[in-house]
Point group: C2
Chain length 295, copies 2
DNA sequence: TTCTGTGATACCCGCCAGGTATCAGCCCGG
DNA sequence: CCGGGCTGATACCTGGCGGGTATCACAGAA
């Protein structure tokens, strides 16, 4: 039974994502013919048709969809193996194995929760060094899966906890953030229906799996972009209450009557055996048991 | 950033498991020198020392331990990708995508639970075909991780549920199974201490991660072997109560006063999106809500 | 000492991943 | 109805590297 090479998986995933051999080849930094050939060989070795080559374009078969999904997680796992090994190795030189943790967070979100967590953990004896890796929307899950982070603050339901161990830290309601000058900003409370179909305020779109779905709203990647677009009167956003910390003067926040709550979890790869990580988790769970400091 | 090839991972994992280049090369079906070279290249590319080559043998560095662990899961993930794609593809030919599920179980364990589950599921409309894949001790977890099975009955604490979604189906106590002629077989109840240090009945050992740890007891791989060894008066075993179904005349079962209970879970890979799987899970959870048929 | 067993080195060869040039079908616009 | 411009597939060549054999360097045991 021959095993898949990561090269083959990389190639297939690129083609499956682009649905175009030429663009995929360009993204991979190679010519198109060897890419075509490699994918054909892959199909022959698996004994399965992965792509339907129609004139003008390519579609995924069912098996292709399966391989796209499974292949992504396999590639993530190998990338994680490389990254975690490198990280451990380069921190290895002092024989007191001073561990170093990377925590993935969403820039500007859960800011004071993170602050309290880091403060509390730093006070622990034997606290490891912690590096904060801030990413854009929904990037934390990916950071955890491909090994860029050892642990992350994930916000559900925007991220999936599937495959991770996790602890819930915080649940909060949501508010609508509108341009202060917009008529709706005067309302005391809004419903999702109120803001979902306002012609001059199309809901912003953020990347899912690295690419944007088509739609009317502007494309955003982080809170700064979003904040600016709201301030300019171009869009409206539904965000957790704790986001009030980064509101501008040009923004208005209105409570939402019917938005489902969001919760922040601390999550880490299943079977992790790092002592430093265990300490951080312990600190985090203790944090939610203690009364939160008022501010 | 160059990515690890699965070939390199396979090589390193083999060496790390054997701790011997020659044997690892033999296991891989190749000569020793290219294997040495490949591992050296891997170390250079990662910029990390993975192995300490001492005369007579090889030891893992810290980074090597990390890579062994992470590399195994990465290899499992790629194997799973190949298997699941093949499976889907070969079942794809009839355009009514008749799905097929593989359920991993421990041979002879949880037998009537499995029977009830399969019966109940078969009665469902649109039930998919189910293949039962019986394995040895603790092999079910591995079957799930490398894609041989879509779903499995896992017995905790012998298997880990980490990284899977799961539902608990059954919790039961444990009994000691002894040779009927042994003096201890006459007792009405036993404690773990009673059987843990009987010189003429050393506890049998079963594989962890594919290899046996050293110890006095005989090595067993499945229930048949175990049953025979008990019947021969060579060993004693601690098993779930439901194992009474496979006892022989030469066996005696004695309740244990202080053995921690074991529970059987139905588990499946996180993010699984198979409809047939969802149906099976639904059936299983309904099964534990309904009163179990007396027998 | 010499023998044995370890992993590393030296050197060679054949395969295959990747390149370039080109083809083959289809959908345009004219 | 025809040619240009897309698409992905094919043909063919070349270089690098993965793998083989032979050998070395070294340490421990008899």
């Amino acid at each position: 039974m021959d095993t898949l090479e990561t090269r083959e998986l990389r190639y297939f995933v690129a083609v499956a994502e682009e649905l175009h051999f030429g663009r995929a080849a360009e993204r991979l930094g190679m010519a198109q013919p060897p890419l075509s050939r490699a994918v054909q060989q892959l199909e022959r070795r698996l004994g399965v048709s992965l792509l339907e080559r129609d004139r003008r374009g390519v579609r995924l078969t069912g098996a292709g969809q399966v391989l796209l999904h499974e292949g992504r997680t396999a590639l993530d796992a190998t990338a994680a193996a490389a990254r975690r090994t490198r990280r451990f190795g380069s921190a290895d030189h002092p024989d007191g194995p001073r561990e170093r943790l990377v925590i993935g967070v969403k820039a500007a979100a859960s800011h004071d929760l993170l602050q309290r967590l880091l403060d509390a953990y730093a006070a622990e004896p034997d606290a490891a060094e912690i590096e904060v890796l801030a990413g854009g929307f929904n990037e934390q899950e990916q950071m955890l899966r491909d090994g860029r982070a050892d642990v992350a603050l994930l916000i559900v339901p925007f991220n999936s906890l599937a495959g991770f161990d996790s602890e819930e830290l915080l649940t909060e309601g949501r508010i609508a953030v509108l341009p202060a000058r917009h008529p709706l900003a005067a309302r005391k409370v809004l419903s999702m229906a109120d803001i979902s179909d306002v012609p001059d305020l199309p809901i912003a779109r953020w990347p899912r799996h690295g690419s944007y779905e088509p739609g009317p709203g502007p494309e955003v990647r982080d809170h700064t972009q979003l904040a600016q677009l709201i301030a300019l009167g171009r869009t409206v956003a539904v965000v957790p209450e704790s986001a009030r910390t980064w509101l501008w003067h040009e923004h208005a926040a209105v409570p939402l009557s019917d938005a489902p709550p969001v919760s922040t979890h601390i999550a880490w790869p299943a079977h992790s055996r790092s002592l430093a990580l265990a300490g951080l988790i312990r600190t985090a769970t203790r944090l939610i048991a203690d009364p939160a400091p008022t501010h």
